[in-house]
C-alpha cells in the first residue's frame, strides 16, 4: 500500500495540515478492546507466583496497554477501506477523514516499537517477546492475511487477544507454564462465539465490506451451530481452573453458574431463526460480562491475596 498516493486519493487533493486531535489518536487505540486486554493481563500478572515491584507491574501493564493500542492503530490503518463500508466502523478516525493513513501507520509503528523495547528493558525479555509476537500476529497474520481471506479469521486471529494473560504471567515469572496457557485457551475459545454472535446481527455490514465472516460464507445456521460447539468447549475450559486446583470453590461456583447461563443463551442462539437476532445480541452482551466476571473472580479467589502481599512486601 502506497501511503502518499493513498492519502492523496482519499482527499482528492494534496494532504492538508492535519486537524487530528489527541482524542482522534486515542480512538485509534481502540480503548474498549484495550480495557479487556489490560484487565486480562492484570489477572495473568496477579495469579503468577513470585514477586514483582508495584512499579514494575505498572510498567508491564502500561506497555501491554500501549502495545495493544498500537496493534489497534495498525489494524485501523490497514482496514480503513472496509471500515468505511460498515456502519459499526464508518465513524472511526480514518474512514471519517480525521486522520490520514500515513499518520495512523506512523503512530501504530512508533507505539509498537516503544512498548516492546520499554517492556524488554524495564521488565524482561520474555514478556517483551510475547508482546512483539502479539502485535505482529494481530496486525499482520490477522488483519493483513486472515481477515480478508478465510471465514476462520476470527478463530485463528483470536489468539492475538488471548496472549495478554501470558504476557502478565511472563512479566512476573520470566517463564511460562500451563496455567497462563489455560487462561489463553479460555480467551481463545471465547472469541469465536463472542464475535460470531455480533457477526450474525451485523452480517449485512460484513457482506457489504466483503469480509468473509462465517455467517456470510457458510450461512447463519452453520454459524449458530458453530457458536454452540465452541460454547461447550469454552464452558468446560472456563470451569477447568477449579478441578485443576488453580482456583478455589468460589471460582468454581461462579464458573459453573456463568457457564450454565452461557449455554442457555447459546442454545437460544442455536434455535433462533431469521429475522430474529435478539438471542445473538444477548449472547454478545453476556459474553463480555462472562469474561470479565470469570477473570475477576479468578483474581480475587487466587491472585488478590498474593498481589496485595507482593505490593506490601
Amino acid at each position: 500500500m502506497s501511503l502518499i498516493s493513498e492519502g492523496a486519493e482519499f482527499n482528492g487533493t494534496i494532504a492538508e495540515p492535519s486537524l487530528a486531535t489527541v482524542g482522534d489518536y486515542l480512538e485509534l487505540l481502540k480503548p474498549r478492546v484495550m480495557s479487556l486486554v489490560v484487565f486480562t493481563a492484570l489477572v495473568g500478572l496477579s495469579v503468577a507466583p513470585g514477586s514483582i515491584h508495584p512499579l514494575t507491574a505498572f510498567t508491564a501493564l502500561l506497555c501491554i496497554t500501549v502495545g495493544a493500542g498500537a496493534s489497534g492503530a495498525l489494524n485501523m490503518w490497514y482496514d480503513f477501506d472496509i471500515d468505511a463500508k460498515m456502519t459499526r466502523t464508518a465513524k472511526r478516525p480514518l474512514p471519517s477523514g480525521r486522520i490520514q493513513p500515513g499518520e495512523a501507520l506512523a503512530f501504530g509503528l512508533t507505539l509498537s516499537v516503544f512498548s516492546v523495547v520499554v517492556l524488554g528493558l524495564l521488565v524482561n525479555i520474555l514478556s517483551a517477546a510475547i508482546l512483539a509476537f502479539t502485535i505482529f500476529f494481530y496486525a499482520v497474520i490477522y488483519t493483513m492475511w486472515l481477515k480478508r481471506s478465510t471465514p476462520q479469521n476470527i478463530v485463528i486471529g483470536g489468539a492475538a487477544g488471548a496472549f495478554p494473560p501470558m504476557i502478565g504471567w511472563a512479566a512476573v515469572t520470566g517463564s511460562m507454564s500451563f496455567e497462563p496457557i489455560l487462561l489463553f485457551l479460555i480467551i481463545f475459545f471465547w472469541t469465536p462465539p463472542h464475535f460470531w454472535a455480533l457477526a450474525i446481527y451485523k452480517m449485512e455490514d460484513f457482506r457489504r465490506a466483503g469480509v468473509p465472516m462465517l455467517p456470510v460464507v457458510s450461512g447463519e445456521s452453520n454459524t449458530r451451530l458453530q457458536i454452540l460447539l465452541y460454547s461447550v468447549l469454552l464452558v468446560v475450559l472456563g470451569v477447568a481452573p477449579w478441578p485443576l486446583d488453580y482456583a478455589g470453590p468460589l471460582y468454581g461456583v461462579v464458573a459453573v453458574a456463568m457457564g450454565l447461563c452461557w449455554m442457555l443463551l447459546a442454545m437460544r442462539v442455536y434455535r433462533e431463526r431469521l429475522p430474529a437476532d435478539q438471542a445473538c445480541r444477548h449472547l454478545f452482551a453476556f459474553s463480555i460480562l462472562y469474561l470479565f466476571l470469570l477473570f475477576a473472580v479468578l483474581m480475587v479467589d487466587r491472585g488478590w491475596g498474593g498481589l496485595m502481599a507482593r505490593f506490601a512486601a
Binding site: S18, Y25, T56, L122, I125, G174
Partner: protein, 54 residues
C-alpha cells in the same frame, strides 16, 4: 531577498493550530512520563536494571 522568501507558504488555520498544539502537548507529556518511568525504575532496580533475565 528573492520572491520565494516572501511567500507565505502553508498558513495554518486557527483550528489546525489548536490541533497541532494539543498534539504537541500530548507528545511532551508522553516523553516526560517516559523519562520519569525510566528514572523511577532505575531507582527501584538499582544496578539490576542492567540484568534482564529471560
Amino acid at each position: 531577498m528573492s520572491d520565494q522568501g516572501n511567500e507565505p507558504g502553508i498558513v495554518l488555520t486557527e483550528a489546525q493550530k489548536r490541533a497541532r498544539r494539543s498534539r504537541s502537548i500530548a507528545i511532551a507529556v508522553s516523553l516526560i512520563v517516559l523519562v520519569v518511568l525510566f528514572y523511577a525504575m532505575t531507582l527501584v532496580k538499582g544496578p539490576a536494571i542492567l540484568i534482564r533475565p529471560i
